[in-house]
């Protein structure tokens, strides 16, 4: 059986990884918030979503977190009137991405908070390991 503290470190690492994937998707969505199609009437960028799942890691014997899937948000695109845009159809309407920057920012804050929490766990686990090691010092 592996040392519990090292297991805790690994679990926290899986959390950090999952949250950074989430941040990557959020930044991708924000970066593409204005990405329209290139052909008249073409579909613009579709917002991507990320979902997590708890998975039993057999070598660790603990529940780590994994990115379950990166999906595509199928909500309808916003229509804007912009006849000068290359993606405008005959009526001058352009399909804009279904990205709501406010939602993305809220998601980013949550990912940030969870990332910090995981980092805290990792730091404290490392501290505890060091405490044990320092028992051997000046004995």
């Amino acid at each position: 059986m592996q040392d519990s503290l090292q297991t805790a470190l690994r679990i926290a690492a899986s959390g950090l990884q999952a949250q950074s994937t989430r941040l990557r998707i959020v930044s991708q969505n924000i970066a593409n918030a204005q990405s329209t199609g290139s052909m008249p009437g073409a579909d613009p960028y579709s917002r991507q979503t990320v979902s997590f799942e708890s998975e039993m890691d057999r070598t660790l014997g603990a529940n780590v977190v994994n990115v379950k899937s990166i999906g595509v948000d199928s909500s309808p695109f916003k229509l804007e009137h912009d006849p000068g845009n290359p993606a405008a159809d005959e009526g001058g309407m352009v399909k804009m991405p279904n990205v709501d920057v406010l939602t993305e920012l809220a998601d980013m804050r949550e990912a940030n908070r969870s990332y910090e929490a995981n980092l805290q766990v990792a730091k404290q686990s490392a501290d505890m390991l060091n405490t044990t090691i320092s028992l051997m010092k000046d004995a």
Partner: protein
């Protein structure tokens, strides 16, 4: 005073083991703080671990698999106020987990400090 009658090192290492197991539970909760349908877990209190004397299977053959030493690390789901549950069915309260994390860290430091002091006490008797 007989130091041998004080099972301090025994209890100390049990407590350290228990605290490490608790740290693992907290790490799992925090890592899964945004996982749909995940339920927060914790381990049984230390007093319960001390009171119970688990019966362990004897390993009489090299081919026998060794089981985890005790029930110290057995996880159980925490009862959470239903209003705390998020829409996705997650019951992790991240603030509570951070408090638990601080508790574990403090107890661990105290535990190892006490053991260090006792060790120095024993050493001073030898000098």
């Amino acid at each position: 005073m007989q130091l041998s009658s004080v099972y301090l090192f025994e209890i100390g290492s049990q407590k350290a083991q228990w605290l490490s197991a608790r740290q693992t539970a907290i790490a799992a909760n925090v890592a899964n703080a945004n996982t749909p349908a995940y339920h927060a877990v914790d381990i049984q209190p230390f007093s319960a671990v001390l009171d119970s004397s688990p019966i362990e299977l004897a390993t009489t053959n090299p081919a026998h698999l060794s089981l985890p030493q005790s029930e110290a690390g057995a996880l159980r789901e925490v009862d959470v106020d239903p209003t705390e549950q998020t829409l996705s069915g997650n019951t992790v309260n991240i603030e509570q987990q951070m408090i638990n994390l601080g508790d574990v860290n403090r107890d661990y430091t105290m535990n190892s400090d006490i053991r260090r002091v006792f060790h120095q006490l024993l050493l001073s008797a030898l000098k």
